[in-house]
Symmetry: C2
Subunit: 240 residues, 2 copies
């Protein structure tokens, strides 16, 4: 497959948001004297994400930074689980836990391998530019560029997000590869004209989660980012 650039989903595909956020919830909650099933709180927080995205995509909610969305969802989850004792500073710190996610073990070495190929790499996430810049810096994820749905003032799976990334990177959509562990992200990317690569992340929702069905049609399936780098190593780009 010959592509000029590859863009990567971040929450789930490159980073283990569940264990990272759970650790910060347990730490911050524990220091506030609270006890809870912290992994369940993390899951409840993340489960609110898609419905809120849907309300934005239907036009019901205006665009807002992901941090603000995370804060709203957190407030609701804490109220539901009787954790109202957490104050403003603690909630702010929890929202920023999404800026400090731990990468999957293959993500950083895989990106270093890709950096040596002519294929340009970038994030393509619903996280904002600032969030993604800090996250990738502290996680040691070497991308060539930071792309965010924020630059289209929208969210995936809006086709404008994928097309804005192609336009800014100056590549044709059919020479841009979307890499994700979420079938719906890849389906939307394919509809926008991009090529797609699936990386399974069976531990995204923890060891006891139901298995995810792989997407019906993708251009490439890779075991992880290192495997993907191997598959793209012989890529011919349009660069002189």
């Amino acid at each position: 497959m010959d592509v000029d650039a590859a863009v990567f989903d971040v929450f789930g595909t490159m980073t283990d948001w569940r264990s990272s956020v759970t650790a910060e919830l347990a730490d911050i909650g524990g220091r506030a004297g609270l006890r809870a099933d912290w992994p369940a709180i993390t899951d409840a927080w993340r489960h609110r994400y898609r419905p809120v995205l849907g309300r934005f995509l239907s036009g019901e909610l205006p665009w807002q930074p992901l941090d603000d969305m995370h804060r709203l969802m957190l407030d609701e989850v804490l109220a539901e689980h009787g954790l109202n004792a957490l104050g403003k500073a603690e909630r702010d710190r929890l929202v920023r836990a999404w800026h400090r996610l731990r990468p999957w073990p293959d993500a950083s070495p895989g990106l270093e391998l890709l950096h040596k190929t002519p294929v340009v790499t970038a994030t393509l996430s619903n996280g904002g530019v600032g969030l993604l810049t800090r996250l990738t810096k502290q996680a040691g994820l070497r991308f060539d560029c930071i792309m965010s749905a924020e630059l289209a003032r929208s969210y995936k799976p809006d086709p404008q997000v994928y097309l804005t990334a192609a336009k800014l990177l100056e590549v044709e959509p059919r020479r841009l590869l979307m890499v994700a562990c979420h079938p719906d992200d890849l389906e939307a990317a394919a509809k926008a004209g991009l090529r797609t690569a699936y990386i399974p992340r069976p531990l995204e929702w923890g060891p006891d989660a139901d298995p995810v069905d792989p997407p019906a049609e993708v251009d490439l399936v890779a075991n992880d980012v290192i495997d993907l780098a191997g598959a793209l190593a012989g890529t011919r780009t349009n660069e002189g």
Copy 2:
């Protein structure tokens, strides 16, 4: 000086555009059987840049990608110097010479040192996002993020360019450092509320050029990017 992020001018401050573009002109022109004072052609090309920027900033010209602007200026310069024999493919390749500029020797090691500090680094150039992504990748310039005047659909020294970078990086302007070898870039950044660091590049216009006067007021003067990294090593950022 405590800042959260530092943004860098690229053409001149991080890369030696003059020797890079001259080498490609001499190569492409020579293979077309042409002879010319190639450094003078490069200088003539670059000298057209500021007047064209001025025409955009005054509202006379619409915004267009830097590549398109480079192509227009190149066509004019080649016509003026009797070099019309260069064809479309060769002109396209010359425009892309600006995507392949060589870094100054201190730029890459300086950025690696800065990468280890909590200060976020980004480009901030009139080059487009695609251009800057390819340039920094091939030159081995490790920035944490690619910022471009294109994201404000404007050009430096329009204050919106500096303020858009601050907004996207989620830093206050007074905690954002503009690094450049051009006094007018730093003066415009300071007017927009940013902090400023001057790095002299006495060889920017070649060994015989007149010396550049340093800017009247800056927050920091560094010999090169390695020196700048040393000055910022103890920086306290707002990151937890």
